[in-house]
Amino acid sequence: MAKYQLEGGKRPLSSSDFIKVEKLVKYFPVYSRGVLLKKEVGLVHAVDNISFDIRRKETFGLVGESGCGKTTTARLILNLIEPTDGQVFFEGENVFEKLKSSSKAEKLKIRRKMQLIFQNPYGSLDPRMTVFDIISEPFVIHKHIPKKQWKEKVYELLELVGLEEYHAERYPHEFSGGQRQRICIARALAVEPEFLVADEPVSSLDVSIRAQILNLLGELQQRVGLTYLYISHDLSSVRQISNRVAVMYLGEIVELADTDELFKEPLHPYTEALIAAVPIPDPKARSIKIVLPGEVPSPINPPSGCRFHPRCPQAKPACREKVPELVQVNPRHAVACHI
């Protein structure tokens, strides 16, 4: 069982500075139509000045509705896209600078520490590769495992994610959604990462399979010592798996707190409404709902001041004018709201 050991596991634990995100900004330009005379007509404020840190071995949840910048944030942290501004520190090292300045081997070394699993396990596996090829492909790229040991390692990974050795010779189409997600997880673990971004890993799965994958992620964290950034719009699963949660709205973090505290005492009206909007699978718990009017505004021209003010049931004049800062209410809870 415990054959799988992480190389970096011996390093001393410093809890707070595992990943530090500082004033991260990402704007996507919007162009007018036309090929020759393309003109920049606006900016999509996908991620706007967010800061947070992720502690080692915790699960950090990122929730919000579609278009609020969750996935963009993840891709920025992994440096899959260039940020407009801001920094990300991984174990005290500036990821962007490091990736720009260092050699290819160095870059691979950083990349190895962070991995990503996607929402759709149907789209993220090459249909023409066997499971063995899929899981061993990282070995080809990172060359951290001698070819003789590939087979053994692949079997180890399969076992780790709850699949059998004979699955290695099969193709993705022979598997169900849940099993494919297991293959994706095995592939991500093949490079022995320390940090795993899970972008809506259970959204496309059936209810009875979701629990399997959520439990698997929890188990792996215990066994391998992974740190997760868990991204989802599904608050129930976030509550289930995360230690701390950040709530995003239109590219900004509006609230960040320990999971239990956030769900028990949400301070931001948006968090409150979001929680109230989730149907609870218990007819006895039917409650009075806060139904938010309207929809998420366009991130091209976000509302002034607090971006939530046009939909906020408690908005005051100040909310329209001043952008609220993320204020630490107590050591476990921060909120960006004037009220």
Binding site: S208, Q240, P279, P283, K284, R286
Partner: protein, 330 residues
């Protein structure tokens, strides 16, 4: 005693594919009272959508209704001619689909689509139909209906598109509405808006509603009675409250235990294995390979629905011998 509006008995809809016969709906029976909100719950491949399509007789090829009875207001829909069905579809029974972007026609504006729906069943002039379309859009909460109805589906957001789809389904004031996963693609705050809307409309028009979903939360909020489907079979039928309180079928119990809850953290129980392949479904009770309580008999004999208490039916050989935990029982 309220009257029964829909009565389905022994419905069998199979898909004749090259790989074999898929028994998507295999002997489903349940009924629906007037003005009731019924939940049809199950995972993908459980046959919830195919059941709805069968009622409307719009099962896509190579699917075919093989056997059964679908009585709507006492008349068997499966015996109607295609012409008669056309008159019923949309006017008496309507359906909204999961993905509004693909169920609305992208090349016609909203006005045309709504007008067509109205004029297909009612002899009204174009201007009257137009007026009615505006009313409908206002009912479903689309602001500035008159201007917006000249726009095309792509100019609407997901939540708004679903509202348009609901408006179109309501065009002829159906007495029965199937809502097939109406909020699956929507954000939670928008989902709350659409669910509220459906509830209001139900009251306003006195419709009967069949909610098709896999989300136990929505079911708990929206329905008064539930039919649980698994692999084309009915597992359990009960009032919503009773089902959550004392599930009788191991699958229902497992499904409840597998869903994370927002208001408390619990250990998620895993249902082992996968959803079965319906070309070669498991023998006997289709849930038996994944069931913790399975006995010899479950492998051999298909269980029939038995009444455990008033209005509570379960299809399980072992229900008398096992005690299951409800949502609050732990």
């Amino acid at each position: 005693m309220t009257e029964t509006i829909l009565n389905i008995e022994g419905l069998k809809t199979y898909f004749f594919t090259e790989a074999g016969i898929v028994t998507a709906v295999d002997g489903v029976s349940f009924n629906l009272k007037k003005g009731e909100s019924l939940g049809l719950v199950g995972e993908s491949g459980s046959g919830k959508t195919v059941t709805a399509l069968s009622v409307l007789r719009i099962v896509p090829k190579p699917g075919k209704i093989v056997d059964g009875k679908v009585e709507f207001n006492g008349e068997d829909l499966l015996k109607k001619t295609e012409k008669e069905m056309q008159r019923i579809r949309g006017s008496a029974i309507a359906i909204t689909f999961q993905d509004p972007s693909s169920s609305l026609n992208p090349v016609y504006n909203v006005e045309t689509q709504l007008r067509d729906a109205i004029m297909a069943h009612q002899t009204v002039s174009k201007t009257e139909a137009r007026k009615r379309a505006i009313e409908l859009l206002e009912v479903v909460g689309i602001p500035e209906a008159e201007t917006r109805m000249r726009e095309y589906p792509h100019q609407f957001s997901g939540g708004m598109k679903q509202r348009v789809a609901i408006a179109r389904a309501l065009a002829c004031e159906p007495t029965l509405l199937f809502a097939d996963e109406p909020t699956t693609n929507l954000d939670v705050t928008i989902q709350a808006q659409v669910l509220n809307l459906l509830n209001d409309l139900k009251k306003k028009f006195g419709m009967s509603l069949v909610m098709i979903t896999h989300d136990m939360g929505i079911i708990a909020e929206m329905t008064t009675r539930i039919v649980v489907l698994y692999a084309g079979h009915v597992c359990e039928i009960a009032k919503t409250y009773d089902l959550f309180d004392r599930p009788r079928h191991p699958y229902t119990e497992a499904l409840l235990a597998a869903v994370p809850r927002l208001d408390m953290r619990k250990t998620l129980r895993v249902i082992p294995g996968n959803i079965p392949n319906l070309i070669e479904p498991p023998s006997g009770c289709r849930f038996h390979p994944r069931c913790n309580y399975a006995k010899q008999i479950c492998e051999e004999v298909v269980p029939v629905l038995e009444e455990t208490e008033q209005g509570h039916f379960v299809a399980c050989h072992e229900w008398r011998n096992i005690s299951l935990k409800g949502e609050r029982g732990h």
